[in-house]
């Protein structure tokens, strides 16, 4: 179940970006990650843990978009974010 620790790692990256003055945002809609084929991670388990882990956070309800890559890297690539809670800017 170390997918839970990885989900927490992703959430920490998201939360850091949320309060960073350069990137700050209210909510994240999509988290794009790269997951190496030989990283010891089960994508389904990670998706499940991510949903659990993000409840009540800026990433609640966000989608985790996983791209499989060669090698063992696990990276958060980019975030699709919104600046207000409704996701509607005026």
């Amino acid at each position: 179940m170390h997918e839970l620790a990885l989900a927490d790692g992703i959430l920490q990256i998201v939360e850091t970006a949320a309060v960073n003055p350069k990137t700050g945002f209210k909510r994240v809609k999509t988290v794009f990650i790269e997951l190496g084929e030989s990283a010891c991670v089960e994508p389904d388990a990670l998706l499940f843990c991510f949903d659990e882990m993000t409840r009540g956070s800026v990433a609640e309800g966000a989608r985790l978009a996983i791209t499989r890559t060669a090698g063992s890297a696990m990276r958060v690539k980019e975030l699709e974010v919104v600046d207000n809670v409704d996701g509607e800017n005026n």
Binding site: L6, G9, T23, T30, C40, A65, E80
Partner: protein, 252 residues
């Protein structure tokens, strides 16, 4: 229209576990609010940074740190007790014990006179570099010592978490299946040494040693393999020699 990537998307699944290039949404009122933030960060970046710190501290003290990994019940702690007894008086050593609960293993180690710090991971399935770093702060190990980090008994998760060790040592006991290296390849790939333990029991088992070794080397051709028994002492000298050799390889 797909609300994620803007593709027209009638024909493909929207699970998006594949890449087809993100296109910034445009022209849709609903999506005008969203923007992309570049992140490019390693998910294990925090652990890896702590691991790098640990590695630096171990190197500064000339400590050879080993991460001992196996399934529960492989005889890690007993083998470690034998190892510490053999090193005693000659080489300083200390132990960090990882278990979900109890300090039973640390107590077994302390009975040998060696300092042991117990980390209880609670629900956690692995040790992480941050907790190991703090445990090491409590340890007074003279320069040039051995630090044995006995990870939580688990052949899966500890493979992914670097603790700053010089080597992962995987212990496989002959009371398990010989196909464990095939079933849990990540761990056998991550290790540099495999101790095939409890070899004194072989006469009573159908365990196929040659097959186990063949499977392990199939997963990791660079793996060094030593047959050991805490009961008879088989392989203990070879294991001690390996330890001493590896310590001489540490950067001066």
């Amino acid at each position: 229209m797909c609300t994620v990537c803007g593709c027209s998307g009638e024909t493909h699944s929207h699970a998006h576990d594949h890449s087809h290039g993100y296109r910034k949404p445009s022209g849709s009122k609903n999506l005008a609010a969203s923007r992309l933030v570049q992140v490019e960060q390693d998910i294990l970046g925090k652990n890896n940074a702590y691991a790098a710190d640990n590695r630096q501290r171990f190197a500064a003290q000339g400590v050879l740190a080993l991460n001992l990994v196996s399934s529960p019940g492989s005889g890690k702690t007993t083998l470690l007790v034998r190892t510490l007894d053999a090193l005693k008086g000659e080489h300083p050593a200390a132990v960090i014990e990882g278990d979900q609960q109890t300090s039973n293993d640390a107590e077994r180690i302390r009975a040998t006179g060696v300092q042991a710090i117990q980390i209880n991971t609670g629900k956690g399935c692995h040790l992480d570099a941050h907790r190991v770093g703090h445990a090491f702060e409590e340890i007074s190990l003279p320069d040039g010592g051995f630090l044995f980090i006995e990870n939580v008994g688990n052949l899966v998760c500890p493979a992914a978490f670097d603790l700053g060790e010089a080597h992962k040592v995987v212990i496989l006991s002959v009371t398990e299946g010989e196909d464990k290296p095939l079933k849990y390849p990540d761990m056998f790939r991550a290790a540099d040494l495999m101790l095939l333990n409890k070899c004194d029991l072989l006469p009573y088992l159908t365990f196929d040693v040659d097959k186990a070794i063949e499977y392990a080397l199939q997963i990791n051709p660079k793996l060094t393999i030593i047959r050991t028994s805490s009961t008879t002492g088989e392989g203990l000298n070879e294991w001690l020699e390996w330890l001493k050799t590896e310590r001489t390889k540490l950067p001066a």
